[in-house]
Amino acid sequence: MSEATYTIDEWFVVALARTIRDKETVFHGFGSPCAQVAMHLARRTHARDMLLVEGATYAVNPDPPFIPPTGNDVVLQQGAEYRMRFEEFFDAAVRGDVDRMFLSGVQIDAYGSTNVTVVGSIESPKVKLGGGGGGCNLSATVGSLSLWTTRHRAGRTLVEQCSFVTDIGHRTREGTRQELGFTGGGPQWLVTELGVFDYDETGHARLRQMFPDVTIDDVRAVTGFELRVAADVRTVPPPGAAALAALRGIDPLGVRRSEFSPVELARTFHAHTGAACAC
């Protein structure tokens, strides 16, 4: 695909990458192709001095020739500066040396708590999901969380209340992060295939940006919690040519696309000359 034309999965990953600041130590969980590609993209564009920790291999700043469909393949260690042990990473995250982690959820509530454990009750599950990996501890202590979902439009993802809270957002039934004694800052961004949210001073999600083929009503219609919209809501800045080229080089297998429904993947955009480039 030309650099003048790009699809939603590409723009989405670019938007996700922008949540990373330079010099941050950043981690993604396994089974997270979009976050994984976004991290490598950030490191090759605006965050060249970030410390990238590969999920599941714990390799530091690797340069894999391609992103495989599994999270702990040795290809993800290629060119790494260092390979952490499992406990070396988790200890760093718990003591506060990891600045950002990417988390997703089959359900995400207004305060950024996520559910990747079960739809329905745990006693009689409607759907038993894979599980949370390390999230229920990491979400408490990692500096900032970048949440994402590619299933916003389905209407079942952004919910009033998760049927099960696996990872902790800004507040849960048991209280706020402060009351729970958590040292991490919690969710900072939520990127969906419809737009980008941040979190207001109460820790509630707030729509900041939308993709150009989406309206606020579209978003409201599929958001299960009260939709709060920033005064300066705008269009998601389009991806730059450099970012698109880098992204396509990083992910030749297109593993990022596995997170999107075919309908979404049909969303194609054309670069406007002079479009703002944040990368």
Partner: protein, 306 residues
Amino acid sequence: MAFHTGSDKLEPLEAAAGRVRDGALVALGGGLSARLPMALVRELIRQGRTGLHVVGSAHSIDVDLLVAAGALAVCEESYVGFEQDLGLAPAYRRAAEGGTIDVRESCCATILAQLRAAELGLPFMAVRGVKGSDIRGLHPEYGEVVCPFTGETLVAVPPLQPDVALIHAPLGDRRGNLHLEQPYVLDERFAAASRNVIATVDRIAGFDEVGRAGITVPGHLVIAVSEVPFGAHPTSCYPGYAYDRPHLAAYVSAATAGGAALTGYLDTFVTGVPDEAGYRKVVGDEALARLGTWSDSTSAWQELYS
């Protein structure tokens, strides 16, 4: 005399797997698509083991196959599935939804803390998170502890000492010394915290070769080691072989269909073959050899996953 000081722990897979009792608390080594102890898992199924309680981090076909064969009673892994690529674990999901297994989903960091309590000889460990997560509700065995210095209340978790850790390594010697390639995942902690380690290796080598490669798990922690080529298949065991994505995909579709399709998979690859030699024969030399081509070139490696 808790360490195993013997100099020859080499024994047939059947005997090694025979050391695992029905209902045992079993730590599964490796993770996701890498270095799962599949030969041991298949042999346990052949031997009709039941009531197993498995613990670990993020796993896939090892747990799902044990569930499919009715060998598993309690699952305390932090994740069971096939990632974004192949999706949910079919047998595990079906059993969880049907209530035929006890799901005590845990968290990687909590499991690590519990293993450390056992490894450090402490009766509990404190953890920073867990509070506010419904994961806590799945673990009535957790408690609380107040820090004598800060006064803060933390979740306390009990030691986790598996009866046995099942670990597959590319290389090992008769004494039980194991060389692993990173990521080690929890294998080092499993080895130190468990009562016994039962290992399989793709190849038994002399002590000097294993020593040169680097000993990841020392023999004094290992009670039995068996040589089983491709013992982690269909998951990877570098530098020998990449994971067999087509095989995993075939398993997932059979397990998703369930019934005859799943029975068919079990019969073809596990219960219907007498041993692992039989398993490798059914999988086929060509398919196995193909998994070694990852090192030929980037495109060859990429080709395995396309």
